[in-house]
Subunit: 371 residues, 2 copies
C-alpha cells in the first residue's frame, strides 16, 4: 500500500503515524515547500517533474487540506484514485456550493445569500436581519476572511475588509454551542460515526474539543449521524468527513460547514476512541474494513497554539497524551495538542485545568452550555 | 530531542512511532545492513564514517537489541549518553553474569552451573539432577543454542550440537506458566511497572501474551515488581527492562532471564495500557516524566510469524489492532503482531480465537494454567 498525501503538515504526519502499522508506505507532497511532517518520503514543489515523481511513487492519493489547486487534483485524479474525490473538494472549497448541498439534502442550515457587491451585502443584511455573518466563499480557514455585521451600514466596511469578489451572508444563529460530527466511509459504502464533540474556539482558532458528551442522547447523535451519512452517500465519499454543527437553544442542530479530511475536532479519537480518525481514514482510502469508533472513557483535546508549554511538566500530569507537530513557534500557529483522558467528568475537568495552567496564553475551560 | 537507535527493525520502528509525537527526531543505525524500520533517518554499516555520522546526528542513544558489539557500544558511550548503559548489556549478554546477579540480589532462579567441556556438562547434569537445560552463555535468542538433557549421557551430543565454549546448565523447573514483568526507570530513578503478562511460546518463539491476569493478586504482582525494581536500582538502569519469570506449581516466581530493552511480551501495552512500553522507554531515555502503566481493559498480543494473514480479514474483526513491521515473509520471522482487546475475558478469548483462525499455522490459545 503506497499512499500519497497532498500536504506535509501535522495532519499528514498523524495519518502516516497511524498508517505505518497497517502496512502503508507514505509519500507526502508539499506543493508550497515548508513540510513539517517529519515522516515518510517528502517531496516539495509543484513543478511537473515533482508531481510525476509523486504519482509514480504512490498507488492511491489523499490530502490533508482542501485548499488545493483544482488543476493539480484533476491531473493526479487522471492517473491515480484520489480519496475523497475532487467533487468533495469542489463542494468544500466553495461555501455557496456547500450550503446549496445542505439545503438540497434537507440538512438544516442558517438562511444564506450569495452577494457580489457591497450593495448586495447591505441588501442581504437587511433581508436576513442583523446580525449577519459575511464570509468569502473560498479559502475560509480558522476564522480568516469573515466579518460580523451588526447593521447593514457596516456592509461597505466589511466588503473592503474581506476583499473577495463573492461573499456568503448568513443569518445569525443563537446557538448555545458548536458541535462536530466526524464520520468515515469506506470504499464499499460502509459508514462509521464517532460520538459528537463540543468545540470551543478562541480568536477563531479551535481551543479545545470534548467528547463524548453526557448530555447528548442517542436521538440527537442519530440525527447528526443521519445528516453526515446523507452527505457521505450523496458525494460517494471515501475517507473521513467532518461536519460542524450549531446546537440551538431549543436543541436543534444546524449545519455550519464541513471539511473533507481528518479534522482538529477529531484528534481526541487518538487516545479516546477504539480507532482514531487517522487510522480509519487510511483504512478507508486503502479499501480496508473500518475500525470501531466507540469512545473509551472521556476525552478533552486541547490545542497548543503559538508557543509550546514545557513538555516535561505536561507529561508529568496524569491522563495526558502529548502530540507535537515538530513546527517552529509562531503566533496563532497550532504546534501540538494534548489529549486528556479520564473515566469521569470531574477528574477530566481537573486534569484539563492542570494542563491549561501550564500552557502559555492561559484560558478557561468552561463546562458545556447545556441546551 | 535527537534520539539514536542501534538497530532498525520492528522495535526501533515502534520506538520511533511512539517518540515522534513527543517531539523526538530519530536516526537508526543498522550495523548489519538490512533495515526494515521504515521510519526516521536510516544509516547502515559499521564503518568508522557511518558511526561518526550517527554520533553527530544524535544527542542520546538507545538500542533495540542487546547483542551489540561491546566495542561499538563503548565507543559511542564515550561521546553520547547511552541508555540502558553498557553495564546492563554486559550482564544481559552473558547468562552466567545474569544468573550471578539474580543470586546476588536474592531473586530466586533455578540452580545453575557454568561448564566449559562436555565432561563438565555431564557432571553438572548429574549434580543438578536431570532433566536439565543447557544453553550457550552468549547470543541465546528465541530458543536457539540450547538443549534439554534427559540423561547425563546426552551431554556429549548436546555439547556438540550447541557448539559454544561455555554453557550454563540449569535445573529443570516444574513451572505452570511463564510470566513476564516489564518496568521502566527514568533518569531520576522513578520506576513504573506494568501488570505482568502470561506468555506462550511455540517452537521457541513467543506466540502470544495476555495481560493483565485475573489470577494474579496484588501480593504476587508486588513480588515481581520488587524483583525488577532491585535489578533496575542495582544497574542504575534507564529505560525499559523485561524480566521473564517461571511461575511454579506452588505459586513461586523464579527468574529465567532478562532483556535490556522493550520486549515482545510488552507489545500489548500499545493498545491495552495508558502508556505503552515504547513511549515510556523514549520518555525515560529523554529524561521526561514517565507515563501511567495501568492496564485499560484486557489484552492479548498475538505474533504473526512466517507469513502474514489477510490484513483486511483481520481488520474486519472487532477489538483488533494490527501492527505490521514491513518485513518480507520468511519462516520463523516475526512479521507483525495483533493486539486484541476486550472488557471481559470471554469476549477476549472469542476475539483471539477469531484472529488465530485467520493466521497461517493455526494454533490453539489455551486458558491460563492457573497455579
Amino acid at each position: 500500500m503506497r499512499i500519497g498525501i497532498l500536504g506535509a503538515g501535522q495532519l499528514g504526519r498523524m495519518m502516516a503515524l497511524a498508517g505505518l502499522p497497517l502496512g502503508g508506505h507514505f509519500t507526502l507532497l508539499d506543493p508550497g515547500g515548508a513540510p513539517s511532517a517529519g515522516i515518510g518520503d517528502i517531496l516539495t514543489g509543484d513543478d511537473d517533474a515533482t508531481i510525476e515523481r509523486f504519482i509514480d511513487a504512490v498507488d492511491v492519493v489523499t490530502y490533508e487540506f482542501e485548499h488545493l489547486p483544482v488543476a493539480l487534483l484533476a491531473r493526479i485524479e487522471k492517473q491515480r484514485p484520489v480519496y475523497p474525490s475532487s467533487r468533495a473538494i469542489a463542494v468544500c472549497q466553495h461555501r455557496g456550493r456547500e450550503k446549496a448541498l445542505f439545503s438540497k439534502l434537507d440538512i438544516p442550515t442558517p438562511a444564506w445569500r450569495l452577494v457580489e457587491s457591497a450593495e448586495a451585502l447591505a441588501e442581504a443584511a437587511r433581508e436576513l436581519g442583523c446580525p449577519v455573518v459575511a464570509k468569502s466563499v473560498t479559502e475560509g480557514y480558522d476564522g480568516k476572511g469573515q466579518a460580523v455585521l451588526k447593521d447593514p451600514d457596516q456592509a461597505f466596511e466589511a466588503w473592503a475588509q474581506i476583499g473577495h469578489s463573492m461573499l456568503i451572508v448568513e443569518a445569525f444563529v443563537d446557538f448555545v454551542r458548536e458541535l462536530s460530527i466526524i464520520a468515515v466511509r469506506g470504499r464499499d459504502g460502509e459508514v462509521r460515526c464517532w460520538p459528537m464533540a463540543e468545540n470551543q474556539h478562541e480568536a477563531g482558532i479551535l481551543r479545545y474539543s470534548m467528547a463524548p458528551l453526557a448530555d447528548i442522547d442517542d436521538a440527537l447523535q442519530a440525527r447528526a449521524n443521519g445528516y453526515i451519512e446523507t452527505l457521505l452517500a450523496e458525494l460517494d465519499y471515501v475517507g473521513v468527513l467532518a461536519l460542524e454543527l450549531f446546537q440551538t437553544r431549543d436543541g436543534e442542530l444546524w449545519a455550519n460547514e464541513m471539511a473533507p479530511r481528518v479534522h482538529n475536532s477529531g484528534h481526541w479519537t487518538q487516545n479516546g476512541a477504539a480507532t482514531s480518525q487517522f487510522e480509519n481514514h487510511i483504512r478507508a482510502v486503502c479499501g480496508l474494513p473500518l475500525g470501531d469508533t466507540a469512545a473509551r472513557g472521556l476525552s478533552c483535546m486541547v490545542n497548543v497554539i503559538g508557543e509550546e508549554g514545557d513538555p516535561a511538566a505536561l507529561l508529568a500530569l496524569p491522563g495526558v497524551h502529548l502530540h507535537r507537530y515538530a513546527k517552529a513557534p509562531r503566533a496563532g500557529r497550532k504546534l501540538a495538542h494534548l489529549n486528556v483522558v479520564a473515566d469521569d467528568n470531574a477528574t477530566l475537568m481537573a486534569r484539563v485545568r492542570a494542563v491549561t495552567a501550564l500552557l502559555p496564553g492561559a484560558f478557561e475551560v468552561r463546562m458545556s452550555h447545556r441546551p
